[in-house]
Amino acid sequence: MLALATTDVAAGGAQTTITVWATPPPPVSAYGGATYGNAPQASGAMITERREIDVAKNGEVRITGIASTMDPATVQLRSLTDPGGLSVSEQRFMPGANTPDEILARHIGDQVTIVTAKGDVTGTLRSVDPQALVLEVGAADQRRLQVMRRDGYVQDIRMPAGKAVDKPSLVWRLATKKTGKHTVELTYRADGLTWSADYLAIYNEAQKTIDFSAWATLKNATGTSFDGAELTLVSGGMPVAPTPGLQVYAHNPPRPMPATRFTVPTLVHVGTGESVQVELMPPRVAAKTRTVVTYEAIQDLSANNQMTGYLGNDCSMLTQTPAGQGRAEVALEIDLPAGKQLPDGRVRVFKRPAKSPDRLEMLGEDQLRSSAGLARVKLASHGELIGERKTTCNADERARTLTEKVEVKVENKGKQPIEAVVREFMWRTPLWRVDPADESIRSVRAGPQVNEYRLTLPAGAKKSVTYTVVYSW
């Protein structure tokens, strides 16, 4: 029987808190993903643990049960027992020993017993390599070194396991006036902890509603387990210094994507080599849904133009998109409570058919599109909404601005009215603005470089969206 405790965060207070950054989604780029000068996404996890340690007189402390993937340069130690009175004067990170030779090497200097065909030999292990080992045996003037071949002669090696020297460990020499027990807070960054968002949308064909749930899948490949951990999951970037070699192009530091944080409401056991799924929000059951047809006249090239100091300033690019070149898709939308924005992730879409609601039919798997208060699930391409797009553009090198006037014409060639959402990508640089006075329809910002224009198109109707966007660098 297995005992896994789940304790309320509020009730207990976590001994371990872990902040994990989302696994970045694969770059989407029309031209091969050259995100030139882009700020790298934060990754991995920050782990904070509260521990009891016993500081010896020589100040040495060894702790195990830490991530084998830790970055030793990020370790911070703080005594809660004696704040300000304890500091690290020396730190060594001992990675875990995995192979038999590595484990043997960690026991050099220990008493070991070698089992041979001629009997057991006990002594101090002095040296080891794949072919032989050296044992110091005897005492006083009887002391001698014995070299033993490991191929055939050595049958077994017995050694103490209690010191945990083969596990990943931190060895400190601490400076403190107070030896003995301390409660300390240990913080470090580690790789090997990742998470991604997975969504489930079940469309009820008879009721025209959706059951929608959001899950986070956390994977622990750190080599250690965390029990009763308070988890915070972060999606989006955090400020990271750009690659030094690219500084010359970056007049302004890259702007991070706004981060979304989510704290799991219960303490969670995160076992080593384990995936853990937790819900990102309470499921929405029988949520009302809207059918929309999204229209994208151009591909999103934003990923190629992420530097705020370096603009995609070729005014001849994407100036004219003829009819039939854009992409129209039918999608289902649901509203999210309190203007919530969900992290990027995969959504699986199912249908409960009207004729047999007990059955589940899979409809698709795609990236969820979420903006503040809205989640959108793609169904299929739509052949009856067509459009064309024209732009005029003017770059002002002195003012460091580029002004682009855009007109998107859409036509509903179908026999039913549709609610269309024209998605426009402000792809040239993350620094842009659209003056509402210059828009024919009020837009909604749907992402760092996406604006959406919503309009109802009766059967056979044509409509236009116009706006002016000003980029700056």
Binding site: L2, L4, R359, M362, E384
Partner: protein
């Protein structure tokens, strides 16, 4: 008799309740060509406010594939599943079904407001349930009727036995099928036009126990259909079929010399209701002799996508002596501006026999799936045209004795209109 064994252990912590076992209530399984979609129902006896249960699921299922379909009134605070960080590719990405393996084990952390029995449903896909199908047709000595039988062989290497309250089979790969289903729903929601060839219909298998190893399932009761002999001229076959919506515009496509062989065949009427959703597979046409032994008259395939809406199935048994055909393309017009490709063919059938020959001509509209037959319409000049599948038509005619007949047809492909 196989039994599904779902081991559920109640995790004890402090004063938590003792372990309770559960009785499965019945899973729901949909078998596709490449994957099986499984909804696994799990009964949990919850006796304390929070508990952890262990559940066996098929080997190779990763956490990302898991979905919680129905919480059954419980709050599921976390789902734990082991993964191998050294394994670069999940089973989900594997091209071929993997060998048998131990099942994976889920740990479910749940919270309940009150003690009781709860039923939750989880879902996942697995490529460890593979299947094949085979048919036989047994002809009467008069060769005027045939009895169709079919059986499904399901191989389960998931490590657990599955007891499906409801199981069905869909003769398509999951990706294309779900795409078609999504297209249909999207079209229904927006009033857009739908394709004339429906996606593969699900074949209900009823309740089913799929134990580890191989399970054989009868697909249909033996049913007798009218059978008759017919000559079939199918000079191209399905080898050129392009399943895309936009037609291929290669001028040489299908314009080369075609086979002149006409086959002696048997055609067997299809019972649309009884055969709806049956998967494609090989068929052997057998004849029972007077002494009770069987001889094989011919082999073919039944219910392929190409013949999804056909009225009859044909099984070739040899070459027709004295009857031959030729196929000639008369015209090809590619109009990129109006998004149209027009292609005209003439089929010539020569009958040297002293009696009239009834011939079924099978033509494949291989350039793409958006097409219209401009000529002949349904029944023109004694030629009966009918659609057999998304890219296949049949044209029936009778060639008089010692004579020849020419049949012209015109197909118009369109795209992006």
């Amino acid at each position: 008799m196989y039994r599904l064994v779902v081991v559920v252990l109640l995790a004890g912590c402090g004063a938590r309740a003792p372990t309770k076992t559960t009785r499965p209530l019945g899973d729901d399984i949909t078998l596709y060509r490449d994957w099986a979609l499984i909804r696994q129902r799990i009964a949990l006896d919850v006796t304390s406010a929070s508990a952890t249960f262990k559940v066996k699921i098929p080997a190779g299922v990763s956490a990302e594939q898991l979905i919680v379909v129905d919480r059954g009134g419980l709050a599921i605070t976390a789902i734990h599943l082991a993964f191998d960080p050294k394994k670069a590719v999940d089973d989900a990405d594997a091209a071929t079904p993997p060998p048998p393996a131990k099942p994976a084990e889920l740990a479910l952390d749940v919270q309940a407001k009150r003690a009781g029995r709860y039923s939750i449903v989880i879902g996942y896909i697995t490529n460890r349930i593979a299947w094949d199908v085979a048919y036989t047709m047994t002809a009467t000595p008069e060769r005027d009727h045939a009895t169709l039988r079919g059986a499904l062989a399901i191989r389960n290497t998931s490590g657990i036995a599955l007891r499906a309250g409801h199981a069905r089979l869909i003769d398509a790969e999951l990706g294309p099928w779900r795409g078609k289903s999504a297209e249909q729903l999207a079209a229904a929601l927006t009033g857009a036009a739908q394709g004339s060839t429906p996606p593969a219909a699900p074949r209900e298998l009823g309740s089913l126990v799929i134990g580890e190893g191989e399970t054989r399932v009868e697909l249909l009761r033996a049913s007798t259909r009218a059978m008759s002999s017919v000559l079939v001229y199918d000079p191209i076959g399905t080898k050129l079929d392009n399943p895309g919506a936009t037609p291929l515009r290669d001028v040489r496509m299908g314009a080369g010399a075609a086979s002149s062989r006409v086959t002696e065949s048997f055609e067997v009427q299809r019972d649309k209701e009884a055969t709806a959703g049956l998967p494609a597979g090989p068929v052997r046409l057998l004849e029972r002799r007077a002494n009770g032994s069987f001889i094989v008259l011919g082999e073919s395939r039944l219910f392929d996508v190409a013949t999804r809406v056909a009225e009859v199935d044909t099984i070739a048994v040899g070459t027709a002596e004295g009857v031959a055909g030729t196929r000639e393309r008369r015209e090809l017009t590619i109009d990129d501006e109006r998004h149209r490709v027009v292609e005209e063919f003439v089929i010539t059938l020569v009958n040297k026999r002293p009696t009239p020959a009834s011939v079924l001509i099978r033509e494949h509209l291989y350039r793409g799936q958006n097409w219209t037959l401009a000529y002949p319409q349904a029944n023109t000049q004694g030629v009966i045209a009918s659609k057999e599948g998304p890219q296949q038509i049949s044209l029936r005619t009778v060639v008089p004795a010692r004579s020849q007949t020419k049949i012209l047809y015109v197909v118009v492909y369109t795209w992006g209109q």
